[in-house]
Amino acid sequence: MRMLLPHPLLSLSLFVLWLLLNQTVAPGPALLGLAVALIGGWMLKRIRSARLRVRRPLVALRLAGVVAVDILRSNIGVAQVIMGRRKKRHSGFIHIPLSLRDPRGLAALAVILTATPGTAWVEYDPEEGWLLLHILDLVDEEEWVRTVKHRYEQPLMEIFP
């Protein structure tokens, strides 16, 4: 089983992706999708042998909900800034010390921070784990550090140990 499916989660995602793209579950395309899924798993195994494992699916689901709400809120915030509703505004860089080291966790954090308007991931120092973030509407630096660490980093470290 391990030989056939080195990355079951990835293979499953590829299979679903294939079916969605073809918009059918007819046996022909499904069979082809199965081949794509299997070959995708084998190819990833050659690139990196470590198994991709997602723990705590419930934590991941909750994080997705939190992020969706945050994206909505910051959309409204940035739209207000652009439309000139907030005159006194100050943007700037902040430094955040990260304990998260897992590359997949960092990638997920980058997606979260970039998808949220108002925060932009600018630089990451892998040696000591410093993250340089640009904030459009910077009021309290400490508050932002706490938000990123508690709201996003904590659950990500549980999901990708």
């Binding site: 959309n75 940035v78 430094h95």
Partner: protein, 127 residues
């Protein structure tokens, strides 16, 4: 798209509203590109279009085609997922290129490093 006339009003209204909201958000992002002052501030503007703007338009598309074809059309989720996952690649590339250029030019507006200690030391030597 003549089939659009067959769409019941109960569906047509939300589809139209979602499309308008999505388009308005994308427009806001584009206006932001014009109005915001520094390069790093402008990095934030297009994200409005790729997060909520994109979601609204994709939801409208899902609703429209699901009702017209009387079956669940969900491959728009894929577009959304791929868009969200690939945006950071370009945004980080552009952001880091700007940071590199500013540092080479010796600008004091950008931190010299991701580490704050160096930042504090540099600020002291400047002052």
């Amino acid at each position: 798209m003549n089939h659009a006339a067959e769409l019941p009003l109960l569906v047509a209204v939300p589809v139209a509203v979602l499309l308008l909201v999505g388009a308005a958000l994308a427009l806001t992002g584009s206006i932001g590109l014009l109005k915001l002052r520094s390069f790093y501030e402008r990095l934030h503007a297009p994200t409005i279009g790729t997060s909520c703007g994109m979601s609204c338009i994709l939801l409208a598309s899902m609703l429209f085609f699901s009702v017209l074809q009387s079956r669940l059309v969900v491959h728009e989720i894929l577009i959304g997922f791929l868009l969200i996952v690939t945006t950071p690649v370009t945004l980080m590339l552009v952001g880091r290129a700007a940071l590199h250029r500013d540092r080479l030019e010796g600008s004091h507006k950008v931190p010299p490093s991701a580490r704050p200690e160096d930042h504090a030391a540099a600020a002291q030597s400047d002052g």
